[in-house]
């Protein structure tokens, strides 16, 4: 079933890609097929591959149980929040929280996770800032002025 869904999805995306490629304007100079040709070829191959998966799916992969999916979802959310906070909040605080949270996903032990998060964050900051010379800020710019 998963293969069929992905096959169908591929087919739809490839069709959209193909349609979008045909809308590209043609240049005036002598490039006979211009920027259209390659996207059209690739989406053609993708459509064949998608159809094959739709018609001839493999055995169902072993999907994780629901609770694991929740874990993975939480991890993704943590990472997304981390991506947004890294700049405004400085390096140390978001990194400590994010690593502690990931560590907690792997081994649910709150105290240990917090210790791991804090240590990782400080050690990595020292390495990045002083050994590699990256322009990171430890704390929010507003705090350090």
């Amino acid at each position: 079933m998963s293969d069929r869904i992905v096959g169908l999805l591929t087919l739809v995306v490839a069709l959209a890609f193909f349609a979008s490629a045909t809308q590209l304007e043609m240049p005036f100079f002598s490039d006979p097929l211009g920027p259209k040709l390659f996207p059209m070829l690739v989406s053609g191959v993708a459509m064949i591959a998608g159809t094959m998966m739709l018609l001839n799916p493999d055995a169902e992969p072993e999907w994780p149980v629901f609770s694991t999916f929740i874990k993975l979802f939480i991890t993704s959310i943590i990472l997304i929040i981390y991506a947004y906070t890294l700049k405004p909040f400085g390096f140390i605080f978001p990194t400590a929280v994010a690593s502690a949270a990931i560590s907690f996903q792997i081994k649910p032990n709150l105290t240990k996770s917090i210790i791991i998060g804090t240590c990782l964050s400080v050690i990595l900051f020292l390495i990045f800032k002083f050994a590699l010379g990256l322009g990171l800020f430890a704390f929010p710019k507003a705090l350090i002025g």
Partner: protein, 497 residues
């Protein structure tokens, strides 16, 4: 004679104290990365590339550092294969077959030393092969026009897809995904924007490093969280390590044969180290008179895949340097490194930047000797790495990936893209859709398109031009064979089972 002059140039670059130090650091880092379960050479090199830029190294130095990491990771992959029965990376898979049983028999030390020596033999012979073959191939590559390059890229995708996946449709899908991503952004020859959805962030296209780190490193974190607890296996304690001279002597022909097989597998574009170790193991098994001993801890079963995979790692550098077509996932990552350093691999590299090529080759030879020294007497130290708990390792890997990508552009958009690639990578891997072709597609997509368009301009839109020279016809035939033959081989294998 030219070879020696070139080598002398190479060593003059590689033996400078700075470069030498980078090689040693790279080897140590690489061995650690290779030994950590789940962090293979491609992941390791991928997360380190952005950081190596921030060091402000010049092209040769960065290349020496990263290839030492690459060679080191190929060595290190065997440690967890032998002690934990978990391959540190894909090519080290075959080493678990005899390595772990041998370790269970109380010969873990012997297995590690033997595999270290076999790795050395494989990598050393492959570097010699690289020295001899690369300049010849570079000369042939001068004959390549756009039609030939188009066919060559096709060959790389077909062999990589054909051999790297159990399902040809999935491999093709993955290639198309990569090529599709490579087309996002401003089309260089016309200035038109394509497939950006009017998102300003996408006008420059998607940086391949973002995709690589996302697909390889971030998806690994997801896979680990998902499979956590399942792969637990009982590790074998490492007792005293001695050098098993007799065992090494007995397997000398095995190592030699496997190195040759591995090298050839590595040179094939798209095939790479996993194929090298597989073919080396299988051919030793079929040559042996006592086949039943394989799988029970036979020294030949360790020497063969290790010589094979390290030799293939060296062989994979041949098409990468001379044609710009990587032979494996990790060399694809190294190609990404070259492209970011503004070095265009290809025949011109050998004539225009000889110090880069020969400096690299000389430092590979040096790295090999360093690795032998690190991996035989110090193997016990590296085996400690296995004890790093996942609850520390994985957050660490994630943060290094984030900072690496963040240091490239300083944009949160790239970080979000990287997470997206991580999620996509997780689903691809769960569904058995290979991720390496996606990377290769992103890396080679624009080159492939440029070749095709040049060919069309030259021939005024005549498609038969693509098949007009003997070289391009040969490449097309090889591509079709490379894509189709594995289907029949798999059928044969399942029938004979």
């Amino acid at each position: 004679m030219e070879l020696f002059a070139n080598l002398a140039l190479g060593f003059s670059v590689a033996l400078s104290p700075n470069t030498l130090m980078l090689a040693v650091v790279g080897c140590i880092l690489g061995t650690i990365i290779g030994a950590l379960p789940g962090l293979g050479p491609s992941n390791g090199v991928a997360i380190l590339i952005p950081l190596s830029f921030s060091l402000g190294l010049d092209a040769t130095a960065a290349l020496v550092l990263m290839t030492s990491v690459y060679y080191g990771a190929m060595y290190g992959g065997r440690i967890s294969s032998i002690l934990l029965n978990i391959p540190g990376d894909e090519p080290a898979m075959m080493t678990t077959l005899d390595g772990y049983p041998m370790a269970k028999k109380g010969q873990a030390g012997n297995a590690l030393v033997l595999s270290g020596v076999a790795s050395f033999v494989g990598a050393f012979l492959a570097t010699i092969g690289l020295m001899l073959l690369a300049p010849i191939l570079a000369r042939v590559a001068f004959l390549f026009g756009p039609a030939e390059y188009f066919a060559l890229y096709l060959l790389a995708f077909c062999t990589l897809g054909g051999l790297g996946s159990k399902n040809q449709a999935k491999a093709a899908l993955s290639v198309c995904l990569g090529l599709g991503i490579s087309m996002i952004g401003v089309d260089k020859s016309t200035g038109l924007t394509r497939f950006t959805g009017d998102n300003l962030h996408l006008y420059d296209g998607i940086d391949f490093l973002v995709a690589i780190v996302g697909l390889f490193a971030v998806s690994e974190v997801f896979i680990f969280i998902e499979s956590h607890g399942k792969n637990s296996s009982i590790g074998v304690k490492l007792e005293k390590v001695t050098i098993p001279f007799k065992m090494i002597y007995q397997t000398k022909w095995t190592m030699l044969r496997s190195s040759i097989i591995g090298f050839i597998a590595g040179v094939l574009p798209g095939a790479g180290a996993s194929l090298g170790s597989f073919l080396a193991y299988m051919s030793e098994k079929s040559l042996a008179k006592d086949k039943e001993k394989f799988g029970t801890g036979d020294p030949r079963g360790i020497a063969a895949p290790e010589a094979g995979n390290n030799s293939a790692a060296g062989g994979a550098l041949v098409p990468m340097l001379t044609l710009g077509v990587p032979g494996s996932g990790t060399t694809a990552v190294l190609l990404a490194l070259l492209m970011t350093l503004n070095i265009t691999p290809g025949p011109l590299l050998f004539t225009e930047r000889p110090e880069v090529v020969w400096g690299l080759i000389a430092s590979l030879l040096i790295a090999n000797i360093v690795l032998l020294i690190l991996n035989v007497p110090l193997v016990k130290v590296f085996s400690r790495v296995l004890q790093v708990p996942a609850a520390i390792l994985l957050p660490g890997v994630t943060m290094i990936s984030f900072v690496g990508i963040y240091s490239l552009s300083g944009s949160y958009f790239d970080l979000l893209l990287m997470i997206l690639f991580g999620i996509v990578g997780f689903f691809l891997r769960k569904m058995d859709i290979p991720t390496v072709p996606v990377i290769l597609g992103i890396l080679l997509g624009s080159h492939m398109e440029v070749s095709l368009r040049r060919a069309m301009v030259l021939s005024d839109g005549d498609f038969t031009y693509l098949f007009s020279s003997p070289i391009s016809i040969g490449l097309w035939v090889a591509a079709i064979i490379g894509f189709i033959v594995p289907i029949f081989l798999r059928r044969l294998l399942t029938i004979s089972k």
